[in-house]
Symmetry: C2
């Protein structure tokens, strides 16, 4: 090797894999077995235990480095702003769960306390999320019916009020979903989050924003909407709203529109003058206070029959064990809640962890959310995840750590304990309007579609499918469908490889697509075929079709025709119509054509797909000059090189298919070479699987395309009729023939490699 | 290029992709757009129309070449044997549909008539299949209740008997499933069959055999088993049978055991003396005739209360339009029936098409089965697919074409029209025993597991999961789960690539895993990293981890430490604690350590992840000899080569991740080169997606690893301190610096390539 300036000069032996291995014996290495990996996984050491404990309490790693000077002010501002929104959203989402509004404050308080210690995301605001709330609400509606004689009435004490029952059901479902999350976390199932690709998360969260939007419409229009659930729930809800739109309250619509416009304008101002404002204007809070004041002053409730929040319960209540009957009957729902809650929280957390460049841990998030939900459920709250809008507020108002979250919980506590009564006159439509306007950021993700389509069609498709599935099927089934489709795209990407025929760039050892270049050299009779993807059950037939197209003929057809021709020749020899002369087979009779029907009789004797049996023939058959009356399509290819550089794996179906393809070519005396194949991944596997036999040997594997082509040229340069040699292409037979025919020794490359290739370093 | 004997001698310019492109301008090619493909798909030509018509009537291609002499005898023998089994199975499976036994003869007759013309499989025996029959039976049981006042009673005429209603429901569901199959066929959805890999089909058909076995147990024990359906139906059925086993009829068990043993022995004899017997002994038929005779003679029905077939309806009835109310209420069931029926028929057909080496067409099979089911449903039959056992008989008794199938239909017709009454005394347990014993072949597929595990763990897992899913979840859901898992394995296979670090084989241009060889040369400061799989969302993090492990340090950590160090140096320079001399930075004060807390103030000013900003510094920072008090981990790598030969695709997530990884390395002044990357698939895509900017240029792409290494050696051989050059690694800056520092022109490889690389052909 001459590493001379900008010159690539190499002189070495041309290697087949076998020859290379003989000269450069690989080291015997111990490869870890599955058992070793399991053992390693359960290995115990103090540093490991310490690491696990640290990962269980992420707060230990970030709180000591907390920078009071830099972060505290931002966190306080963010915590207060978020806390006020927490209060507002808690009230709004409690209505979706069909429990009194005050319990929403519990759901906005308890989960944060535990997440503060256990969570790995620094920016998400843990608490009620509308879709999850809606899902819990479905169970509540199902279990607690107005009809006190209903089937479920036996599971509650007789003296319990309807409200208490509703709260108990919601708390029990929440507790169960927490158990599910905790279990998944300990089972280390958080790894599923690597399957949440960026386009999928983007599409899914955009769909979630649509769900939130629709869930808030009923407050904007002040309509009673039944709790639809399952696929197409969104459509039914919209249909219900639009069919009942005439019943909506004009006062509420006006209030909502005013709130929305004002909040929108101020948010734009906040955005534009970000650098000049010391702190963003907390416009939502200001508008809520104004709206509450105005509503109280002009008595909106009675004057315009505006729906108001009403009085809130004061203080906290004792913990409540979950209702076992509810646990049994709601496992499916709790599982959906657990998965959707986690998926939403994690996907939002991932957005911010990428933006602020820190690591979040899926398993730990599951554990944190699980414990938070169990804690919250025990204290009569309902399922927590994160609200997209609230997290956006926490981050955009400058929240740096979960200290902001903790402060928001303090605000919620203050409202619960002290000033809750002040919120009683607040119109619900104000809550709805604020939630809707905060969805802007998530809905803006629609703009990603265009650039994504230009970058990668499959990823764009994943976005669109994730969005449509989550909108139409609901977030739970939609998420499953989206992940399924996303994984399917990996199959699609590899399923239809852009196979190409390569040729040599003049004067180099490089091979490129022959269609891409003009001055390109394709050795005569050699086809170099590249498959740029793994080969497996779903594309082995495609691979065969493309290879056949590239070669220009179907080897099986040629083989069957040749076998038929050989039978004819044998018959004609028997009948004396042909004579074997030194010039080949010569007809003796005057152009007598063999009768086709004669041949049908012995059809059953021989397998038409076996290698031609020419042992009984006195002479080789030269397929280029056959006796009259026998036609076999001509073959002008003597060697095929398959470039397997990008074939990263082969499965059993592919190995079987590849073997049958190789056999077909070998039997019509076309040599197949496989180049640049990964030795440790593929070649060793093929050997292990019994891929090789007397027809297909490991000798066909070459290090590079150029090595294979050199060997081919070497073989076919001197012996131009080798391609029509007799019988199977095995080393000894062929060699003997070559010697017989040409009467001289010919240097044989693959022969030499395996024996005594000299070290030829330049 | 010297194609000399067994010598690989090359002397050419070392190329980067950019340099290569400049010298070998690729041809401008028109690439087909999606629209072109659609246009092509709908293009119309006479040959195309002819081909489509031919593919719609496969009989046109095989019947004219039918060899009377050779095939007719086999087909007659096979047809008669299969016909008798058709009769037996038709009777048995009709009981699973909850219709009178005689209608099973219709289901065994009508579908064959149409499949003969339309089907592409030569060996499957179309007709009733127990699992599909059971699925139809579930609908019948649901729709036709004993309670005549039930909700569904309004959909039938009041004067219709229960039996007639059952038949009508079964026929309607069958008709609907036929419509579904036909629609799927015309939509060309038959391509889904490429997702049925060999191990999956094997596992699935084995599970189907278990289902058939269990469905026949109730006849063997003569027990009444309720029609379980859905997941775990098999378990419930078995549980029911074993809890009620004391109620079983000993006479039936004895009959079954006798039939099973005799049939088993004779089948073994048939197998062993295959070559000596002119025709296999039709033992099932003989035993059925004997059993019927004995049952009649000793009046089994009354003496031992054996359950017998009873009288069959004679002849055929007029066609019946499907019941529209049933069609509306059973779409889901009909869809499952259509899919399972097709999947079973196709997977069985594929087994025999591989064995006998002919091509079957998934779409055409869908069309054929669809029309057959519609035809059968119109004539009061029930859903047809193929029975595994019956097809095995048709093939093993020598059936060559569907002529055998047609003859079996004739036999069924003869029984229906003439001699049906003779079968009345036949015990049902005889039917069950014969069906069970014929499952042997399918159940023997269990032996595939061992070899499969040795060949490919994933494929073995697919077999096992397909089997377990189909057994436990039922064939419909199980099939979906199996396909889902099978596709998931493609993701798994690529998800955890075995990345490796390569090194040069002495004296060659070859690079192999450095762990595998002893005499291997790793250029100093160069790491060659190979990722042997595509990179996408699910493994980009894995790729990053493995790369970081291979390099030995985390570039982001180094970058942040360096930025911190530069801030310290600036501060020390300002304070006069450091002086810039020709020997580098020299401390002036007596070992004064910079105060850590000082640096915290300006943390917010600069992005810790940006490239170090050294413009204000008077001298380059030599990271190897820093002033006292400033510590930055040492980096002994100056170049990384990524071998992308096997990276067959990158998705958007991977591109984003790769870009951030590359940036991190570039910013700590490590050059990254990408070698052997597919130009048309990857490089062009990266260019299209805006992957390149001023930090990452297309110049980093090289044709082979060796080209990249040559360039690296060239750069670093003469300029050993280049890796510590100042600022960003862009062409001009660096060049200037090199000139400044070394005061001489240095030949730069990537520079030369893009401008005036001479044609250096040897």
């Amino acid at each position: 090797m001459h590493p001379g300036k900008q010159q690539y000069v190499v002189a070495r032996a041309a290697y087949s894999e076998v020859g290379f291995k003989a000269q450069h014996q690989p080291v015997e290495r111990y490869h870890k077995t599955a058992l070793d990996h399991v053992r390693m996984y359960f290995r115990c050491s103090t540093s490991r235990v310490k690491r696990i404990l640290l990962s269980l309490f992420p707060i230990v790693s970030w709180l000591p480095t907390y920078s009071l000077k830099e972060w505290l002010v931002s966190d306080i501002v963010s915590g207060v702003s978020t806390g006020l929104v927490c209060v507002l959203q808690g009230l709004a989402y409690a209505l979706l769960v069909s429990v009194p509004a005050g319990y929403g404050l519990y759901a906005a308080f308890f989960p944060i306390l535990t997440y503060f210690f256990l969570g790995t995301s620094r920016h998400i605001s843990v608490g009620p999320f509308p879709v999850v709330s809606l899902m819990v609400g479905t169970v509540v509606e199902r279990m607690v019916t107005d009809d006190s004689a209903g089937a479920n009435s036996t599971i509650f004490p007789a003296d319990m009020s309807k409200e208490e029952r509703q709260v108990w059901v919601a708390a029990s479902v929440t507790f169960l979903s927490g158990i599910v999350q905790l279990a998944l976390g300990f089972l280390q199932v958080g790894f599923i989050v690597i399957y949440l690709s960026d386009p999928m998360i983007s599409g899914f969260t955009t769909a979630a924003a649509i769900h939130v939007l629709v869930s808030q419409l009923k407050f904007v229009f002040q309509l009673t909407v039944p709790g639809f659930s399952g696929p197409l729930a969104l459509i039914y809800t919209l249909k219900h709203i639009f069919t009942h739109i005439t019943e909506s309250n004009v006062a509420d619509i006006v209030i909502s529109l005013i709130i929305m416009s004002v909040v929108f304008v101020f948010k734009e101002i906040n955005d534009r003058f970000k650098s000049k404002l010391p702190v963003p204007i907390p416009i939502e809070v200001i508008m809520t206070i104004i709206a509450t004041g105005v509503s109280y002053a002009f008595n909106f409730e009675e004057t315009y029959s505006v729906d108001i929040v009403g009085s809130l319960p004061k203080g906290y209540q004792t913990p409540l064990p979950p209702n076992t009957a509810v646990l049994q009957q709601s496992f499916g729902d709790a599982f959906s809640v657990a998965i959707v809650g986690f998926a939403v929280a994690f996907s939002v957390a991932k957005v911010y962890s990428i933006k602020h460049d820190y690591v979040i841990d899926g398993n730990q998030e599951l554990v944190a959310l699980g414990i938070s939900n169990m804690f919250c459920g025990a204290f009569r709250g309902f399922a927590a995840s994160t609200a997209l809008s609230r997290t956006a507020i926490q981050e955009s108002t400058g929240g740096k750590t979960q200290v902001a979250g903790l402060l928001s919980a303090v605000i919620v506590m203050i409202v619960t304990l002290a000033i809750g009564f002040l919120l009683a006159p607040l119109p619900k439509s104000v809550l709805g309007a604020i939630v809707i306007i905060n969805l802007k950021g998530m809905l803006m993700q629609f703009r990603e579609i265009g650039p994504l389509w230009k970058k990668d069609k499959y990823d764009c498709l994943v976005w669109v499918i994730a969005f449509i599935a989550a909108v139409l099927l609901g977030l739970d089934i939609g998420l499953g469908a989206a992940i399924g489709f996303e994984l399917l795209t990996i199959v699609f990407r590899t399923q239809f490889p852009q196979c190409s025929v390569l040729a040599n760039i003049n004067g180099t050892d490089l091979y490129r697509n022959r269609k891409d270049h003009v001055n390109i050299y394709e050795p005569e009779g050699v086809k170099i075929f590249r498959c740029p993807s793994p080969i497996f059950f779903a594309n082995i037939d495609f691979f065969r079709t493309k290879l056949t197209e590239a070669i220009g003929f179907n080897p099986l057809r040629i083989l069957r025709k040749r076998n038929k021709a050989i039978r004819k020749i044998k018959k004609m020899l028997q009948k004396g119509e042909l004579m074997a002369t030194t010039k080949g087979y010569v007809e003796t009779a005057d152009g007598h054509r063999p009768n086709d029907s004669d041949n049908e009789n012995d059809k059953n004797e021989e397998d038409p797909d076996a290698a031609p049996d020419t042992r009984e023939l006195p002479l080789r058959v030269d397929w280029r000059s056959l006796p009259a009356g026998i036609h076999v399509p001509g073959v002008d290819t003597h060697s095929i090189v398959l470039d397997f550089a990008a074939v990263s794996f082969l499965d059993v179906s592919a190995m079987k298919g590849l073997k049958s393809i190789l056999k077909e070519f070998v039997r019509i005396e076309i040599d197949v070479y496989i180049a640049a194949c990964d030795v440790s991944l593929l070649l060793e596997k093929l050997e292990r699987c019994g891929f090789f036999d007397e027809e297909i040997t490991p000798e066909i594997f070459f290090l590079t395309i150029h090595d294979a082509v050199l060997c081919i040229l070497d073989r076919h340069d001197s012996i131009h009729t080798l391609s029509v040699s007799n019988g199977k292409v095995t080393e000894d037979k062929e060699k003997l023939q070559v010697e017989e025919e040409l009467g001289r020794e010919t240097a044989r490359c693959s022969q030499t490699h395996s024996s005594e290739s000299p070290g030829t370093e330049a």
